[in-house]
């Protein structure tokens, strides 16, 4: 019959593909060949079996009776009364068991340190020089308008929570919040690179519109107004790092950020 021949052919294809896998493997392999041969080996076997089951087996439809209901028996098991009668012991047993289970779980607290102040602080200190990813300090005069630099406190290049974006704009275009007039020497502003929504590094910058964009959920921040969010789910502006220039012309931080960086948390105020 045709079906039998088809099933047989499928098994043969499978056999040949399995055999072919060996020289392919020892010749160096490669995912395409491995995938195709493995697919044929598995598929041939499967197809043959399915053809057999669907077209060649003459299995009858059968009926099986369900138990109309399971035998329901929720009566008390013999011997339970003698146990339950000792109410004081039962209660103490239960209490001691629960307490033991809780006590055994206490070491789970060693899985991590307490947050303490770590979410409130970064590695920026007053007077710390602003350095690039290689640790080189940045001169104010070297920054070009339209440039965006990822910067860190000196001695900590690459620090995850201290990562900062430095952008230079025309000073007269800035409209920073009150009290920050002296945070932006020569139009250089610095904001935390950690998005205040879910903490992704805010890696995109639209130089003409002066807007920073976070790739994770498209939160958008306006550089000119203190990184206020203008689109997307972030509800808090990126914290601004107060900048100054030291006597040699290098950018320095006046202090650490004045609010926690990164995503908000319950006791941040």
């Amino acid at each position: 019959m045709r079906a039998e021949r088809a099933a047989a052919a499928a098994f043969v294809v499978s056999l040949l593909a399995s055999v072919a896998l060996v020289p392919w493997y020892f010749a160096g392999g490669g995912p395409r060949g491995e995938g195709i041969l493995l697919g044929l080996a598995l598929g041939g076997l499967g197809a043959g079996i399915v053809i057999w089951a669907v077209a060649l087996m003459d299995t009858p439809e059968v009926t099986e009776e369900r138990a109309v209901h399971f035998e329901h028996d929720t009566s008390t098991v013999p011997g339970t009364v003698t146990v339950a009668r000792r109410t004081l012991l039962v209660r103490l047993l239960g209490g001691a068991g629960v307490t033991l289970a809780t006590a055994i779980g206490i070491p789970a607290l060693s899985l991590g340190p307490r947050p303490g102040q770590s979410l409130f602080r970064t590695l920026w200190t007053p007077g710390a020089r602003v350095v690039d990813g290689e640790g080189n300090p940045i001169r104010v005069s070297d920054i070009v308008p339209g440039q965006v630099i990822t910067a860190y406190p000196e001695n900590h290049p690459g620090s995850a929570d201290s990562q900062t974006l430095v952008v230079k704009v025309a000073p007269e275009s800035l409209a920073l919040p009150e009290g920050r007039a002296d945070w932006a020497p020569e139009g250089c502003v610095a904001y935390s690179k950690l998005c205040t929504h879910a903490g992704c590094p805010v890696g995109l910058y639209r130089a003409e519109s002066h807007e920073l964009l976070c790739p994770c959920h498209q939160s958008t921040f306006d550089v000119l107004t203190g990184a206020q969010p203008t689109f997307g789910p972030a509800a808090r502006a990126l914290p601004q790092l107060p900048l100054a220039v030291d006597d040699d012309g290098y950018l320095i931080a006046q202090s650490d950020y004045t609010e926690p960086v990164g995503p908000s948390f319950w006791n941040m105020t």
Binding site: V144, Q147, I149, L204, A207, E211, Q218, F231
Partner: protein, 243 residues
């Protein structure tokens, strides 16, 4: 009068003589004429800009060369983001236009030299991931950067175009402070992206889990559903056939 005749003859003869039809070395006045006809409507007759386009004075040779080389300029509709298109001018005219615009007001960056062979592939990868991938995508396939702006695909970016873009930051693209070797390294890496076949099979867009999800549902689940329908198939009993 004689001089005029000589000039006309000279121009005519030189246009016959040059082997490339249309690729004549433009006379100094030609670039200015092209500027007036193709650029001035938005950039102003003397390049000072209008309400439709910014000033081109002092933007530098690299910027002009980039915009013309990638065909972004001339731009028909100043309201939309400029995209790569076939360049409107050949190499000679482009060079002449660059010289003309720079002559309006000197300044800006010159057209850079590129030497991708001398670049360091690994250093280029590091720079690309930190500076380019956030907008252009990990495989350079382009990305959305908000406000209807798209960072274009780098699939057809030529080495000189990459260098120029990094230097001038065209449009919404920022400026990147890379030295010559770093630029060549990034170019070498982008060239690698453009020319190396994918090891794992068909590259379904190079934009990550979104197309992977569509393929998993469409192809994967679709194939599995087809298998399920075949395996679970009932052969309809013909009349009179015993069960």
């Amino acid at each position: 009068m004689g001089g005029l005749v000589v000039a006309i003859v000279a121009v005519t003869v030189s246009s016959w003589v040059s082997s490339d039809v249309g690729a004549q070395t433009p006379a100094p006045g030609d670039a200015r004429d092209v500027f007036v006809s193709s650029c001035a409507s938005c950039h102003g007759p003397d390049g000072r800009g209008t309400e439709d386009g910014p000033s081109v004075r002092g933007v530098g040779a690299a910027m002009v060369d980039f915009q013309l080389r990638t065909g972004r300029m001339p731009l028909a509709d100043p309201g939309v983001q400029a995209h790569r298109k076939p360049p409107a001018f050949d190499d000679e005219m482009r060079a002449a236009l660059v010289d003309y615009v720079v002559s309006l007001e000197p300044g800006g960056e010159p057209v850079p030299f590129v030497d991708p062979v001398s670049g360091d592939l690994s250093a280029g990868q590091e720079i690309f991931v930190a500076s380019c991938a956030p907008c252009h995508g990990a495989t350079g396939s382009g990305g959305a950067v908000g406000r209807e702006v798209l960072a274009p695909s780098l699939a057809r970016a030529a080495p000189i175009e990459i260098a120029e873009a990094v230097i001038v930051g065209p449009g919404e693209m920022p400026v990147f402070d890379l030295d010559r070797h770093e630029r060549d390294s990034v170019i070498a890496f982008i060239d690698y992206l453009q020319n190396h076949p994918d090891r794992g099979g068909a590259d379904i867009g190079g934009v990550g889990p979104v197309p992977e999800g569509f393929v998993a549902w469409g192809l994967g689940m679709g194939a599995c559903l087809a298998v399920v329908l075949i395996v679970g198939h009932h052969r309809k009993r013909r009349p009179g056939e015993r069960a």
